[in-house]
Symmetry: C2
Subunit: 224 residues, 2 copies
């Protein structure tokens, strides 16, 4: 049998449920997401969902999967904007990471929730949850000589940690109504901070290359 369209009811089946769940997640966040509310939006009773998903966790898990899919698209788009092997491409991947998180905050909060770690491993995610893409970008840059050649996995973890940490710290403060997080002297938005990190990432925290002379009074770096 080849899955005939619809026996009867109103709901368009699994995809309709997923879509409603995605929308509700984006609108109300994880708190405002209950089986009954999802069902109401789809136009079925709450228990109908259990014909498609084992339980609420599985439903959210499916949404998480598609969230990582979209995440991967952001990353790939970032990569496409700069030539292979360039350090700019590496930075663009980071920027895409930021863009995804900021434009899909409710998603991001669930994908990287500290509470119920959903997929459990990187390997059962599309593109390894973006890991594979970033890794390839890093390897290319090393091959091209634009980046120090070390264990690529170490480099990936370094860049990923930095970017992810920046985001999660920002979001722990509700990002918008937390003016204290970015102090006056420093860039305010995560994206500004990300750019301001540039010299530190390239040259390290001890100082540029060798010459302290290069470090005139304030390197604060305007960013854009």
């Amino acid at each position: 049998m080849v899955k005939v369209p619809n026996g009867r009811g109103t709901g368009a089946g699994e995809e309709a449920i997923l879509e409603a769940t995605r929308d509700l997640l984006a609108e109300k966040g994880l708190q405002g997401l209950s089986m009954r509310v999802v069902a109401e939006r789809v136009g079925v009773s709450a228990t109908a969902i259990y014909h498609y998903f084992e339980n609420k966790d599985a439903l959210i898990g499916a949404v998480v999967q598609s969230g990582f899919q979209r995440f991967g698209e952001y990353i790939q788009q970032g990569m496409a904007s700069h030539p292979k092997g360039s350090i700019e491409r590496v930075r663009a991947v980071g920027e895409a990471y930021l863009r995804f998180a900021l434009e899909n905050q409710s998603y991001f909060r669930v994908l990287f929730s500290l509470q119920h770690p959903h997929p459990h491993t990187l390997d059962d995610l599309p593109e390894g949850g973006g890991y594979g893409l970033l890794r390839q970008t890093v390897v290319d840059a090393m091959d091209a000589g634009t980046m120090r050649t070390i264990d690529p996995d170490l480099m990936v973890m370094f860049l990923w940690s930095l970017t992810h940490g920046l985001l999660t710290i920002s979001m722990s403060c509700r990002i918008d109504d937390c003016p204290e997080f970015g102090k006056e002297s420093v860039a305010q938005t995560p994206l500004d901070l990300f750019h301001a990190f540039g010299p530190l990432v390239r040259e390290g925290i001890t100082g540029p290359a060798a010459a302290p002379a290069a470090a005139e009074d304030k390197i604060v770096e305007g960013g854009r």
Copy 2:
């Protein structure tokens, strides 16, 4: 009136409730924490808690506060182990951060939850949630010349992001049953990774201070 010990019952009041909540959080995590369970452990009815805390959120908020207190103690202990102004002290603060997170995982997951950001700003936390301590450490290092002199808040955000990101990425994978996260070639535990980051943090991702003539190489970045 000066708060006479106990009118009557068994429970030792507010502190008993807090202690039970802390314990349950450490044992079962946030999921396993309900008003009724807390009450049962204390030996009172669920509604008794509402005489001390406005609601569940307030209760957890109080626990979060004391969690940050303990967090600050870890940081201070890390600082105390190395001389002021040394780069080792900066690293020790990061290590203390890791130690706290790994030894108090359930706590950490709540303190930095992406779901319900509890304290909302750094300023109404003891020690600014550790920010103040790290900042002082950084300023000392800059004064001593062991660290590049830039906007200290920028430096703090850099170091904090890196460490925090490393932790949250690890913990998104349940840390223990996620062997994939640390690939074979790379250090396995977050602490190992933290140490492995050392050269990258000090010298940057472009390479060790080999590059002599300042920045002709690939400093294309800068802005845009």
